[in-house]
Symmetry: D2
Subunit: 310 residues, 4 copies
């Protein structure tokens, strides 16, 4: 079902179309200005680093329910191969990776979602083709993502290790997590939202991770994100948003409005567990985040190995 009138009104309200010019293909990533980068660099105090990526392998989260979005397949084309045939010579091992760009820890680019025939900023959805991929809003146009990030540990903030199945994250939940973090969200920040759902995947329970009624963002938090002018949002679930949604007849309204109307780059399947433990222990929830997507030309998303530096 198409977005109902109230959500269309919300979409119009949070829209960033034209805000950075008619040709803009970056959306809220434009909010990462010198101040945001400086704030990020200043947040890196101890140099402790956390990789937020899950491994790229057959144990990825995909179960075949999303057609074509396969887990990474790693194959070998050379194993200690000596060009000369003599293994006392320099021998090389080479490998190939085939993967769904949205399969593991990744950014959804702005070409990932459309409705009504339009992408972010009013670009025609037909600008994405089999031959070229996304000729508008392709992920390769995002050269770098470097900013201050704030961990919003929603689960911990409201008293859970893992949010209950199908918990709808509310504005109050986000405010509680900001309270726990003890920092004010500023324009250009990247938010890392923790539900704890990743613990299922880390325990090799893919069904629990993927198929359970996933907790997640709701349409009620979109306005909050827009008011805070965040540059990007990443989460530790596959769907990012509550799934199934509050109105099961409306499919993925958070994706629709955040990506297409707000122009908000979204991260999914981020592993926030070690980082969250550390933040809980030292009480510091801000950090430098460097999370450049792989520059897949025409990609509608891309894998990323983000690092949070505290």
């Amino acid at each position: 079902m198409a977005l109902p009138p109230d959500l269309l009104a919300l979409a119009a309200e949070v829209s960033n179309w034209g805000r950075w010019g008619d040709d803009d293909e970056l959306g809220t990533l434009n909010l990462i200005d010198a101040a945001a980068v400086a704030r990020g660099l200043a947040a890196a105090r101890t140099g402790i680093r956390f990789s937020l990526a899950i491994g790229l392998d057959a144990n990825g989260p995909q179960l075949g329910t999303i057609p074509g979005r396969i887990n990474p397949l790693h194959t070998m084309v050379a194993i200690n191969m000596a060009y000369t045939g003599d293994t006392d010579d320099c021998c090389f091992s080479d490998d190939i990776l085939t993967m769904g760009l949205q399969a593991c820890t990744h950014w959804d680019g702005l070409a990932h979602v459309s409705y009504g025939g339009l992408l972010y900023n009013g670009f025609s959805a037909s600008s994405t083709t089999a031959e070229r991929g996304a000729s508008r809003c392709g992920i390769e146009k995002v050269r770098t993502i470097v900013s201050r990030a704030v961990l919003l540990d929603v689960a911990r903030a409201i008293g859970h290790d893992v949010l209950p199945a199908h918990h709808p994250i509310s504005e109050a939940d986000l405010d509680a997590a900001v309270g726990l973090a003890g920092v004010a969200i500023e324009p250009g920040d990247v938010l890392l939202i923790r539900t704890g759902q990743m613990t299922y995947l880390k325990a090799r329970d893919r069904e629990g991770y993927l198929l359970s009624d996933q907790p997640g963002l709701t349409t009620h938090t979109i306005g909050w994100l827009r008011r805070h002018d965040v540059a990007a949002v990443a989460i530790d679930t596959l769907a990012m948003e509550l799934h199934p949604g509050e109105d099961p007849a409306v499919l993925f309204p958070v994706h629709a409005i955040q990506i297409r109307d707000m122009g908000l780059t979204q991260g999914q399947n981020f592993d926030l567990e070690d980082l969250a433990d550390h933040c809980a222990s030292d009480g510091v929830y801000e950090m430098l985040l460097v999370a450049n997507p792989e520059p897949v030309t025409g990609g509608t998303g891309a894998p990323v190995n983000p690092v949070a530096i505290k």
Copy 2:
């Protein structure tokens, strides 16, 4: 031909086997300590960012001369697909990437090279298999690469836009570039070595980039790198080392000794052009480098979208 006696002696001299324990799989990346990270963070003064990756697409540098190392192939599995069939609903585009892990901008992991049946730190080369890839020294064990980097613009330092074909980089060349940079190399630094060869690829001259007699590092510089205890080295060519080598009968001696004996992680096909122009203009050649490899489980290398932050 196997390494001749003088190179075997050099290999023994620069060896880091055992230096970080018998189980170490990270090699010189161990040199990235808190001081190196702090030095890197301190080097990020203005927040200006340079992505050092080339695009992942069919225009990558591979020409088929290295069997199986294919350029990225980007294909679509969904284009504005409405689960409901109604394009006023949220529509999704999804894509697949197939690529050689060593095809574009990448790190060579320590499992990429062996000789005499051994990998770095004496691990058996047979630890790499078709089923598991590299079970020792797999690239996924490198979670993050964050340190200070110094751009060694060898071409500019010795008066070239692009090093002449087959120019053998010497210790004197490196010293000249350090002189131009005006910083002392410290343990744990990452070196970005510029030959200018990338200008060919950026001009869509793949043959010029790949097949010309490539300038590059020689065995004479290995000791220099070891004495400076650098954490990693990246370059703007495909072969990294002079190719063909000084003794054409000895294949890839720099790879052999740097990776297998020193345990030095190597980056190739880095695009240093914009960064180099900026360094030349402001005279500052140090920066924060964040260059996490994609965590391909068992990968003998991995693509990376590095960012240099000045």
Copy 3:
């Protein structure tokens, strides 16, 4: 440039739309009736078999000029792998293939070509999508191709080992080859048309095979094929038709009319060399052809390992 009026008139003249019903997705393959199969079986007199496929490997004909149509990439996922770790147990080797469906010896299915927004039989071109591939005229609907084939050795018939570069095959050429074959073409036959161009590829001269001005069928032969009501046509070139075409401004008119209007399944990159030598030696140019495409669901073409049995 769109088809000019004379070619549109030809397209209308040879059209098979509606001939086998409005839902037909097989086109001229419907002409393979019991008589054609019986004729094919009767033509298999000695049991001598010729595989007409080239190997599936990196030496395939593609040079990167057709975006995305990559040569077969063969990678290993298991090599003598013992589940138990004991190689005295049963050990398995497994492998993966990635390839362009139109890269090597293949059939072009009827969804491979459209113009004016329509496929064969008036199906909308939009029935082919990234999610499902060809939902109309997918190659999987062709379960088997079994019929009598006749080798039309055009090159030999008009006095060449290999047709000269850019030789436009005419009706007279086809008649000459039929004369050489000494058999009357009957409805439902499959024609194997030899130019000799494959000798370049077999000599590892891909540029000669692919990039030379290729000899091939012209629009002047389309009516001939239609009048003879052949079931399918295969050839030993990549383009099938004269390339560049007689009017360089009209791209691939033979593909356009044969596939979209006639509904003629086309085979390309067939290796007819050994078969042609045998036919020349015994003077028998008819045979049983079994050439089932791989049943790729939604495929717009498919690889095939055809066998001619004389």
Copy 4:
């Protein structure tokens, strides 16, 4: 566990090593002589054709339990793409397939299995490498498979629609099926053995097809196959043999002995349902089989779209 003494004795007894020369890489396919082909051709009486392949798509039988053996992934690289941008011109759709060679209907080549470091005919198992695949016994060396086939409908012969779970096929079962077929098995015949297990897959019950205790051939039938000197055997299950085996500690003994010692090419995941119904209705169980594997250079197996012609 390695093969126990009784099975090693059986392996020696049925061995075909050296029978067709020390360089032979075809094994029992050598038994397809002119008489076998002629017998096959003579068995094609009515021209009715049955494709025995399942579709190549994401609904294939693989569930991820066999590492790396992925179901076919079909992706698009062009959809009605006009080189000129004008869709009134000839437009092309092109696609890519990535698949495990052993994922769907396929032949296991003789390089698929080794034990004790040896392949069929004593070739070293190390002849299979990541760089080249199988340099010995690669599937591309099997150019064609054309012979008489006999359907052995074991299920029907012993009174079942589908063999019970974990039914061990015995010599008596095979004899019963031969009795039902009413033909004498002759050297060079190909046997199509029906368990009925494919009905699960056709009902989209992959778990039932793949994970149930699969009925199949046992080591007790190996001698029978050897005495009858069959050229190849294909079946309608994934494992071919009883799985788990009679002695669960001995993994895949039928594969081990049939492929490595006898040199018997094996077919799996053949869809025999329609063919079996037809044979039951007309009482004729012999046919011409044409089942050329795709010529994947160095492949340890290959997909095939077999056709049975009655």
